[in-house]
Symmetry: C2
Subunit: 342 residues, 2 copies
C-alpha cells in the first residue's frame, strides 16, 4: 500500500473529571510523519484499548507520565512497517510498538518488537501474546504464587487479563473461580475457558455468599482487576496466608476522588494476607521466556483467548468509554486498517 | 509468701457491641487452683494489656479462639512459681506465661518461659523482651525489610510495639518518623527514643501534608498499628516499592461493623506497594535469636522502653478501655502483686 499524505489520530482534548465522554477526545487529520534517520514508519493495524489509559488522562504522575492536552492518546499497537531507515527492520515487517491512537507512527526501534504472523494472529501481540498476557502470567505466577490444589479467584474474568489468569491457574492445578458481569460472560468463562465456576456480580443478592459457595475451601489467591465492592466480597473469603495480586482497580478509575468502602485490613492481619501491586514492566527481563511459554500454550490450544474488535479509529473513544463500563467482551482492540495476514 | 485460699480474676461478662465498658468484665474471687501432677502454680505479678485482646472479646474465630462468656480474659503474664510438680521448674523461678487476667494460674510447662531477673526487670518479659518486642522485631525486619537510608514510619509510635519498631529502624540506619497522639508522646518519641520526627495526629490540620513534611523523601516502610484515617494519610505518601507491615488496626477494634474509608488501592498498583499482615507467632522458631539480640540492645541502652504500669487487677478493665482510646503512655501493664525483684 502506498503511504498517504495524511492520517487520522485521536488526541486528549480535555481531562474528564469523572466518566469520560466522547468530547474529551478529538479526532484529527494530520500529515503522516516523515521517516527520519534510523527510524521506521509503521502503519498501525490494531490499537489495544486497556483500562490503564484512564490513569494517563489524569494530570497525575504515576509510574508513567500523563498524556498532555492535545497529545496523541497513548496505547499499544500492532502494525506493519511501510518505510524504514533502520538496519534492524525492513518494509513489510509486522511489529508491536506503543504508537498510540493513530493510524501511522514513527519508531526509533528501541521498543519495537517483530511479530511472526505464522506464529499466531498478529492481533494477539496486543493481547494474549502481549502486555495483557504477560500481565496475567507474572501477576499470577510471580505475585499470586498459586500452588496446586489452591483456589484462585480472578475478577473481570472474561477480560483481556482475567481470561488468561484463570486458564494459567487451571494449568497449575488450581480450582479457578471467575467473577464477571452477566450470564453470557460467565457462561463463556466456564464453558469455553474451563474455569470451575464463575460468579455473576450483576446477578444481585449477597456477592460474598455467592463467592463463598463457589469457593468451599476459601480463597488462596485473588487476582484483582476491579477493586471496589467486588473485591470487598472476595476479601471476606480470603484464607490464612492468602495472596492478593493487585493488577488494577477499574471500578474506581472514573472517580474524581477515592470512593468510600469498608475498612477490611483487620482481616489482613489475622489471616496474614499478603497483597502486592505490580506493573507488568517490572518483569520485562523475563518476558522472552514467558512469551515462549504462552506461545506454546496458545498454539497447543491450552490457552484460548477472546478478542472484541471494533472497526475504525473514530470509534476508539466510544469503545474505551464502554471498556470502563465493562461493556466489552474479551480483549478490546480497534482495527485501524486492513490486516494483510487475514 | 504463703499461698492464699482465694484469689481474684476477671472474666468476660458480656460481649461489647462497640467500645467496651467496665460492666463487660466481672471481678470474681475464687479458690486458688490446686497444682496437679507435672504442673506449676504461678503467682502472677504483671499482666500485659494489649490491643489484640479486643478481638478475643468478639464471637469470631480468628487466628486464636475467642474468650467465652464467663471465662478468664486471655493475656500474657509474668510471675513467680509458688508450687511445682514439674521437674523443669522450681518454686521461686520467675516465669512468663499466658495465664490471663488473674492473680494465680496453673501451667503445664509447655509454653512456660523462665526469666532471669538479673538480665532485665522482669516486667520486660511482657514488653520489649516479650511478645510486643518480638512483634516489633519481626514485623519491621522480616515484613517491612527496611534498608539503610530508607524512611520508616510507625503509627502508635509511643506504644509497646511502636517505640521498639522506631528504635530498631534507627539502628538499621533509617530515617524514622513516628505518629502519636499529643505533644507529650511526640516529645518522648523524638527526645527520649531518638526518632527523627514525630507527627501528632491529634494536632489537627492536614495529616497527609504533615507526614509529607516529615518525610521529604517519601515513605518506604510503614509499620501500621492503627489503621483508619492515620493510615490513609500515610498511604498517599508511600514510595514506589514501599512495604506496609500490618500489625494491627486498633482504630477499628471497637467498631461493630467495618468503618468506611477511602479506597486507596490504586496507589498500591502504580507504586507496587507490598502490604502484608503478620502475627508474631509466625516467627516463633526465630524468637530465641531475636530475644538475644533485643536483650543486648536493651542492656547496652541502644533500645529504651517506657512502661505504663497500673496497680491492681480491679483496675485492669478501665486500663484496657483506656488502651483502646490511646490513653496509655508506653507499654501498658497491670501489677497484680508485689515484685520481689524491686
Amino acid at each position: 500500500m502506498s503511504i498517504p499524505k495524511t492520517h487520522r489520530r485521536i488526541v486528549l482534548a480535555r481531562r474528564p473529571p469523572g466518566e469520560p465522554v466522547e468530547s474529551d477526545f478529538r479526532l484529527e487529520e494530520v500529515p503522516v510523519p516523515e521517516c527520519g534517520p534510523k527510524e521506521v514508519l509503521v502503519r498501525n493495524i490494531y490499537l489495544s484499548l486497556d483500562p490503564y489509559m484512564r490513569g494517563r488522562m489524569r494530570d497525575v504522575a504515576s509510574y508513567a507520565p500523563p498524556v498532555q492536552i492535545g497529545e496523541v492518546m497513548t496505547g499499544g499497537t500492532v502494525g506493519q512497517i511501510v518505510a524504514s531507515n533502520h538496519a534492524g527492520f525492513k518494509v513489510g515487517d509486522f511489529v508491536e510498538e506503543r504508537l498510540g491512537w493513530q493510524e501511522y507512527g514513527i519508531s526509533q526501534g528501541v521498543s519495537l518488537r517483530k511479530i511472526d504472523p505464522a506464529w499466531a494472529p498478529i492481533s494477539t501481540a496486543n493481547g494474549v501474546l502481549g502486555m495483557p498476557g504477560m500481565t496475567a502470567y507474572f501477576g499470577l505466577l510471580e505475585v499470586g504464587k498459586p500452588k496446586p490444589g489452591e483456589t484462585v479467584v480472578v475478577s473481570a474474568a472474561s477480560g483481556a487479563v482475567g481470561q488468561i489468569v484463570g486458564q494459567i491457574a487451571k494449568l497449575m492445578g488450581c480450582r479457578v473461580v471467575g467473577i464477571a458481569g452477566g450470564a453470557k460472560k460467565c457462561a463463556f468463562v466456564k464453558d469455553e475457558l474451563g474455569f470451575d465456576a464463575c460468579v455473576d456480580y450483576k446477578a444481585g443478592g449477597d456477592l460474598a455468599k455467592a463467592i463463598k459457595d463457589a469457593c468451599p475451601n476459601g480463597v488462596d489467591v485473588y487476582f484483582d482487576n476491579v477493586g471496589g465492592s467486588v473485591t470487598d466480597a472476595v476479601f471476606v473469603n480470603l484464607n490464612f496466608f492468602a495472596r492478593v495480586s493487585l493488577c488494577g482497580s477499574i471500578s474506581g478509575y472514573n472517580a474524581a476522588a477515592p470512593e468510600m468502602g469498608p475498612r477490611l485490613f483487620m482481616i489482613f492481619v489475622g489471616r496474614r494476607v499478603n497483597m502486592r501491586g505490580f506493573i507488568v514492566s517490572d518483569f520485562i527481563q523475563h518476558w522472552p521466556a514467558a512469551m515462549k511459554q504462552m506461545g506454546e500454550w496458545v498454539r497447543s490450544g491450552k490457552v484460548k483467548y477472546r478478542e472484541d474488535i471494533v472497526q475504525g479509529i473514530e470509534n476508539a473513544p466510544r469503545a474505551f468509554i464502554g471498556l470502563l463500563r465493562g461493556e466489552n467482551f474479551g480483549k478490546l482492540q480497534v482495527q485501524l486498517g486492513p490486516d494483510p495476514t487475514k
